[in-house]
């Protein structure tokens, strides 16, 4: 299938170019930011010699272009250099490797919760269009997008942690140590991130299902005498999947944004909380590494979503 192969390759090269431009922008913005990394690390004990020594050691005395190429060369091998102040001297790649699984776990967990909630609510609403069930589901959805995620996180802590004592309010057991523990300790943060997403998914699914319920081929299927249940699942659901998956893919931006602040509140050692800590410590190297990692995740997820949609609906390829 040459045309589909061409489509995948074009999309891939598009993503790679975006990634490349992204690294240039991140690099240049960080260079332009006020504050000298050497002074941040050496602080009040900085002398001209120690600053020069520091810059030599970190390659900061080289021309801008070669600094960028060095950095880029490192990125390709997952080598982000050394942390300045948030965990000084530590290899940033190691920091990320340790934290990335936690971020991915919580993110995927949140998507699972959001998808489950939206499948139930969206289907209920579409099947009972115009009834009080529909109104409640849609109202719940609007409420979901209207709550700041971090505030919802605190409300969950107030109710389920401080009040009822069912869940821990802080801390996270990495999945590598205990899978059950990870699901348990990650529940509140994942739920806080999932709430606004579930709302968006529910609305998308409801709209798509309603549109497809009215479609012609459903009528045809009806005439052919399939059972209503089968008709619903087979045709309507399948055709509603593409807008749904597209929206799930688009929401990855908001998901990762939510992860940053929620990780901090719930004390999860993830890339998001690392980025906030680095921001406070003015650790430019770690901040730019985190930004690049998030950029990479979004581009990768969007690419995969495109592939899935193309597989579900080959007409898109052309």
């Amino acid at each position: 299938m040459p045309s589909s192969l061409k489509y995948f390759l074009t999309r891939l090269s598009g993503s790679l170019i975006t990634m490349l431009v992204g690294t240039i922008v991140v690099f240049l913005v960080m260079k332009a930011a006020p504050g000298d990394p050497a002074l941040i690390v050496l602080g009040d004990y900085a002398t001209d010699e120690t600053v020069a020594e520091f810059n030599r050691k970190h390659g900061l005395d080289a021309p801008l272009m070669s600094q960028y190429l060095d950095w880029l060369g490192g990125l390709i091998q997952f080598d982000f250099g050394q942390s300045l102040s948030v965990s000084s001297g530590e290899n940033i790649g190691d920091l990320l490797l340790y934290r990335l699984p936690n971020t991915i776990f919580v993110g995927v967990y949140a998507i699972l919760i959001a998808v489950t909630l939206s499948l139930v609510l969206g289907t209920l609403a579409a099947l009972n269009r115009g009834t009080s069930v529909d109104t409640s589901a849609t109202s719940l959805a609007v409420l979901g997008v209207s709550m700041p995620d971090f505030w919802f996180g605190y409300m969950l802590i107030l109710g389920l942690s401080i009040g009822l004592g069912w869940f821990p309010s802080y801390g996270f057991t990495p999945a590598s140590e205990s899978l059950a523990g990870a699901f348990y300790s990650g529940f509140l943060p994942a739920l806080a991130i999932a709430a606004p997403m579930a709302a968006v998914f529910t609305r998308t699914l409801r709209t798509a299902l309603i549109e497809n319920l009215d479609r012609e081929h459903v009528m045809v299927a009806k005439a052919m005498g399939h059972s209503g249940r089968f008709r619903f699942l087979h045709h309507v659901f399948r055709n509603s999947l593409i807008p749904y998956i597209t929206v799930v893919g688009l929401q990855i931006r908001y998901l990762l944004g939510g992860v940053v602040i929620i990780e901090r509140i719930f004390g999860i050692n993830g890339v998001g909380s690392l980025m906030v800590e680095a921001a406070f410590a003015r650790d430019f190297f770690v901040v730019q590494a985190c930004a690049v990692v998030f950029l990479g995740i979004v581009l990768a997820v969007n690419y995969v979503v495109d592939l899935i949609c193309a597989m579900l609906d080959p007409r898109r390829v052309r």
Binding site: L42, D44, Y45, G267, E277, F280
Partner: protein, 520 residues
């Protein structure tokens, strides 16, 4: 992460509770045990540890760990008296020479014996400009270190230097004894993540931003210590999360407590609250060389214009006390005893001083602050009060601590909220802040009479006489209001109900006290 130790950490993890599990209390977890081999001591309120090299440490959580991994020649006992530690005894041979007799048979974590050569090496390393220690200035008075034999050290200063004993205690001074045989040829960077000391605990692993793990040093010189085999130290950035973790039984000790929650915790049976006035000072630093703070009457007007007890109530939720000066009251032999008139709210005098000043109502200035919310609130409370009483128009500007510190040092600031915690010698407060050449004098304050008294205090070896000199110097300095002393905050530790043996010291000697904890 200390790579060489990762494997041992993993195997430990399999046999015990998870180290990075902070506030996790799974519903399937067992009940608390009566005696323990693993102590879970959370560092709360901080989660950055950049170095475990005493010579380079600056942050409080770094000191917490260094105190448990290393020893100094001297230490503070429970009543804050200086007593021998690695030294067996010490004496003044002459006003400028201190002689220390070292304990014999003290072993570093790697099994090598600690000798006078290590002491000499440690101090010379701190003095070495190339090493760039933040503690260098404390030891610049030392002219020579002699080691007549393996167990004798003589430290000579050019002039009598009274603070030297404090600087050789196991506090935030950096004089923890490091092994010459390792650092002579090894790299300082390696040592910062693989510290080797003589202390009761050795480092097993360090996961940056997450947790540390310590194990008992079996050959530790103090008989019967440490009492526990393992210490897990989760780094918990949020203080309130430390409370949850402790109440839920997933840690045994915290290094701090959130001010707002202390009254409730004191009523709670599930926790022991230890608290006392901390060795700390919080003040408003004024840049005496820029307008409007270049006018002594204006500075005095400000000092009269705010209620320090209200600050304690609002900023610390009552967990502290109004300051009489910048020498903390816990250093009782040198601290100002009664609140001087100039550090007491007096609206009439405030307005009278403003009248004499060349600046009047409506004067604008920016007060720089930083950090977590109570530091911000500190600035707000100050500004709200002086604006109300004097009719001036002050504003708050918030930045991060690094930037504030840098701007204070370069003088690029009008006024800022600042403070020091855990410094143990009055010299570190009074001399360094008030003296013209003081390392912490960011106010550009200079008063020859104050300088003279502070210099005399450095030479005076009699404690009482020395304390009197500090009081005299501070009384003079307060008349000039170079800084506005505000309050001292309490230090807190939260302990699980059955924890025994933890002794709290006013400088918050967290790591150093863990070896005596037996029950948890």
């Amino acid at each position: 992460m200390t790579r060489s130790n990762t494997i041992s950490r993993r195997s430990l993890l399999k046999s015990g509770a998870a180290a990075t599990t902070v506030a996790m209390v799974p519903f399937w977890a067992g009940a608390a045990q009566a005696s323990c081999s693993t102590l879970r001591a959370g560092i709360t309120g901080y989660n950055v540890i950049n170095t475990l090299d005493p010579g380079q440490m600056t942050l409080i959580p770094e000191a917490y760990m260094v105190w448990g991994i290393f020893n100094c020649l001297l230490k503070f006992d429970e009543d804050m008296n200086i007593v021998p530690d690695l030294a067996e005894s010490y004496e003044s041979v002459s006003p400028t020479v201190l002689r220390f007799k070292l304990r014999e048979g003290v072993k570093f974590h790697d099994g090598e014996e600690m000798t006078s050569e290590d002491v000499k090496f440690t101090i010379e390393r701190l003095q070495d400009e190339a090493f760039g220690s933040p503690h260098r200035s404390k030891f610049s008075a030392i002219t020579e270190i002699r080691t007549p034999d393996d167990y004798t050290v003589e430290i000579e200063t050019e002039e009598p230097f009274a603070p030297m004993l404090s600087y050789l205690t196991n506090t935030r001074t950096g004089s923890q004894i490091v092994p010459k045989h390792i650092l002579e040829n090894g790299s300082n960077e390696d040592f910062a993540s693989n510290p080797i000391g003589t202390g009761p605990f050795k480092l097993v692993s360090h996961e940056p931003g997450a947790a540390l793990e310590l194990a008992a040093h079996d050959a530790y010189f103090e008989e019967g210590l440490p009492k526990v085999q393992t210490v897990e130290v989760p780094l918990i950035a949020e203080e309130s999360a430390g409370v949850t973790a402790l109440l839920g039984g997933s840690i045994d000790v915290t290094s701090t407590a959130p001010f707002a929650d202390v009254p409730q915790l004191e009523e709670d049976d599930r926790v022991q609250v230890l608290k006392q006035a901390g060795t700390s000072t919080r003040f408003v630093s004024l840049n005496n060389s820029v307008a409007p703070f270049d006018d002594v009457h204006f500075r005095r007007a400000l000092s009269y214009a705010f209620d320090r007890q209200a600050m304690v109530n609002v900023v610390l939720f009552g967990e502290g006390r109004a300051a009489n000066g910048i020498i903390p009251s816990s250093i009782s032999w040198a601290a100002t005893q009664e609140p001087p008139e100039l550090v007491t709210l007096n609206q009439e005098k405030a307005l009278a001083e403003l009248e004499k000043s060349k600046y009047g109502a409506g004067t604008e200035a920016t007060v720089l602050t930083w950090g977590s919310s109570w530091w911000k609130r500190f600035a707000e409370v100050f500004v709200l009060q002086v604006n109300q009483v004097l009719g001036v128009n002050f504003k708050v500007e918030v930045s991060d601590s690094g930037t504030v510190y840098q701007r204070m040092q370069t003088g690029d600031v009008q006024a800022s909220i600042w403070g020091w915690l855990g410094l143990v010698d009055p010299d570190e407060y009074a001399y360094e802040v008030y003296h013209t050449d003081g390392a912490r004098n960011f106010e550009n304050y200079s008063n020859p009479e104050v300088d003279k008294l502070l210099e005399a205090a450095r030479r005076e070896t009699d404690l009482e006489a020395r304390g009197a000199l500090y009081r005299e110097a501070e009384a003079l300095a307060i008349e000039d209001c170079p800084v506005l002393p505000c309050f001292e905050s309490n230090v807190h530790n939260l302990l699980a109900p059955d924890v025994e043996g933890f002794v709290q010291l006013p400088y918050s000697a967290f790591g150093a006290q863990l070896s005596a904890v037996g029950n948890c």
